[in-house]
């Protein structure tokens, strides 16, 4: 590591010296580079306008809105059960996790609680969504830095997780399975054993990725010390999830949130990393996938018996009130501020999505970096466009 950085430093000093000689005669001129909207590092259509001085970024401005679908407005004309079909499409890689905080907010307003069995299955599906989401990141991070193989591994093994989600919910990507007061249905026969097998595959995948990527010299050189976010800056920008834990902030709503999921029933660990660079964001996510496997395995062993649906009225009218519920979703803190006036439809739903805040730090973190690092930093912050644009 020190060798690489020394070499970089020496090369940089030499370049500066020669630049200084040239600049006596030639003035350098800024250049504007459009990254995207169709760039593979953007997971959708994010456009980053990068103003450059040579290779150095003077200013980076992300432009959103290519996928803005207006869910906050649309939610005002949908009944509460219909809203889950909308919010499914926010973070489309971990869809089930999007439904959970909204349903929990509605349940808090209605003062109903899902039966224990429903809470456990909810938590299992929640964590399966996390695995399906984050292992794609683990593969994709390699692609951004020039290694194509991990992505194929990720897509291959994600399919097993999606199959398990599909077996329960009927939908690979958009389950629409969570209900106010419980779940639409129970898990099918034999599902627990199958899922245990899949968890084994995911653990193997994590080891493979660790072999392939984590120890790779190029990967380390391009992520270590790149895009460092100090914890206080990350907090003020509203960074969440693995991004903030990679800056050493020990905060995970699964442990600290106290909402109606079954995470407090099992033993698991919140992983943090002190460095706050691209590598640590990658590393924390890798550990979290392993941890999610452990959580699911423990939960599968002790699902309580009983119904999966509480008694709720057929036509759901949510009493007047306001509730904000947030959960630790695959991308970070996702919350819904639901304002009800006692009608069939919510009066106002504010969707606090994780990627929107996570990516709002990019102008700060990209300033002064170099062009190749822009891709590395954007990839390590990990965002889904649907989660930014809503």
């Amino acid at each position: 590591m020190t060798d690489v950085s020394n070499r970089n430093q020496l090369a940089y000093i030499a370049a500066q010296a020669s630049d200084a000689r040239v600049n006596v005669e030639f003035e350098t001129e800024g250049m504007t580079l459009n990254l995207g909207p169709q760039h593979p590092a953007t997971h959708g259509t994010l456009r980053v306008i990068v103003k450059l001085d040579g290779e150095r970024v003077l200013r980076a401005d992300p432009m959103m809105g290519y996928m803005h679908r207006g869910y906050e407005k649309l939610a005002e004309v949908r009944t509460y059960p219909q809203v889950t079909a909308l919010v499914n499409r926010i973070d489309w890689l971990g869809s089930f996790a999007n439904e959970v905080p909204f349903i929990l907010a509605a349940e808090r307003l209605m003062e109903v609680e899902a039966p224990p069995r429903a809470q456990w299955i909810r938590t299992i599906l929640f964590e399966l969504s996390r695995i399906a989401n984050v292992i794609l990141f683990l593969g994709d991070m390699g692609v951004q830095l020039g290694a194509v193989t991990p992505a194929f591994f990720a897509f291959r093994d994600r399919e097993f997780v999606l199959n398990q989600i599909e077996a329960v919910t009927g939908g690979r990507f958009h389950p629409n399975f969570d209900r106010i007061g419980g779940l639409k249905d129970d898990i099918p026969k034999g599902w627990i054993e199958e899922t245990t097998g899949v968890l084994g595959r995911i653990r193997t995948f994590c080891d493979e990725i660790e072999d392939l990527v984590t120890g790779n010299e190029i990967f380390q050189a391009r992520t270590r010390g790149i895009g460092v976010i100090p914890p206080e800056v990350g907090l003020a920008y509203g960074l969440s999830g693995a991004n903030i834990r990679a800056s050493g902030v020990d905060w995970d709503l699964r442990r600290d949130g106290g909402v109606g999921l079954a995470h407090d029933q099992v033993d698991w660990k919140v992983w943090t990393h002190p460095d706050g660079d691209s590598f640590s964001r990658y590393w924390v996510r890798l550990q979290e996938v392993r941890e999610a496997c452990g959580i699911i395995e423990q939960l599968l062993g002790g699902i309580p018996s009983g119904p999966v649906m509480a008694k709720v009225p057929r036509i759901i009218k949510v009493p007047a009130g306001e509730a904000y519920v947030e959960t630790e979703n695959p991308l970070g803190v996702m919350g819904y501020y639901v304002v009800s006036k006692g009608d069939l439809v919510p009066f106002r739903v504010k969707i606090r999505s994780a990627s929107f805040s996570n990516i709002s730090i990019t102008p700060w973190v990209l300033e002064g970096t170099y062009v190749p690092d822009v891709v590395s930093i954007l990839a390590s912050l990990y965002f889904i466009l649907g989660d930014i644009d809503r």
């Binding site: 959103m64 809105g65 009944t79 920008y237 960074l239 902030v249 306001e322 803190v333």
Partner: protein
């Protein structure tokens, strides 16, 4: 749902917490520092806390929350338009009541939520204490005709994009914002889509087909079909 997410040492487990010293302390700190700037507050013990401040104390409230109450984490910032929709109580989810150019004759009176309100537009923001695990929702009433409020960027730089969104979606002027341009919408877009009087044109053109949303629930098979409300 009622499980306390904070102060496990101070609140006896298993019983409904009645007092919430940590959240009461936040309200007290705001009352100390803002004086009359704090209009109303509500503590839902063990769950959540809301405060409503004067629009003039909006920025000061953020400073107090960050520096004194330890709310280092910026969660979100947005606005609420409390005007009842002129297109019907359920907006237009039930029947196509009126056209966009023919608003209801007798609009419903304004009604506010937790901590009340006095004007049509309310700023709403939430900050969080990542150590004590408490979140605070802050509200402020804005002038109806000319909603203006100070920017939170000096305290929480992450408010930047949220304020741009509030500006384009609700038409709220953010004083001191360095770059108040559209975030999501095209730059030539007219109107503020999240205001209640902005019609959802798709719904005006074609009624929503999913007006009735009744589906069989698990375990409902042995009950009569009209067993709603059981």
């Amino acid at each position: 749902m009622s499980s306390p997410d904070t102060n496990l040492d101070e609140v006896p487990e298993g019983s409904e917490p009645v007092a919430d010293p940590a959240r009461d302390a936040i309200v007290a700190a705001l009352a100390d520092c803002l004086g009359d700037g704090l209009v109303a507050s509500e503590v839902l013990a063990g769950t959540d806390v809301w405060v409503r401040v004067m629009a003039g104390s909006w920025l000061a409230a953020a400073t107090v929350l960050r520096d004194i109450c330890g709310m280092a984490y910026f969660n979100f910032l947005s606005a609420i338009d409390w005007m009842p929709s002129p297109f019907g109580r359920d907006m237009d989810a039930q029947v196509d009541l009126v056209g966009a150019d023919d608003p209801q004759v007798d609009p419903e009176p304004l009604a506010w939520g937790i901590t009340g309100g006095s004007t049509r537009f309310q700023m709403i923001a939430r900050v969080h204490d990542p150590v004590g695990h408490i979140g605070v929702t802050v509200k402020a009433d804005l002038d109806t005709d000319n909603p203006r409020v100070d920017s939170w960027i000096p305290v929480y730089p992450g408010a930047d994009w949220h304020e741009r969104e509030a500006w384009e979606m609700f038409g709220i002027t953010i004083k001191g914002h360095p770059n108040l341009v559209n975030l999501y919408l095209p730059s030539q877009f007219e109107g503020n889509p999240l205001r209640k009087d902005y019609p959802l044109l798709a719904r005006r053109v074609k009624p929503w087909p999913g007006i009735v949303d009744v589906e069989a629930m698990p375990g409902d098979g042995d009950e009569p079909d009209d067993g709603g409300g059981s």
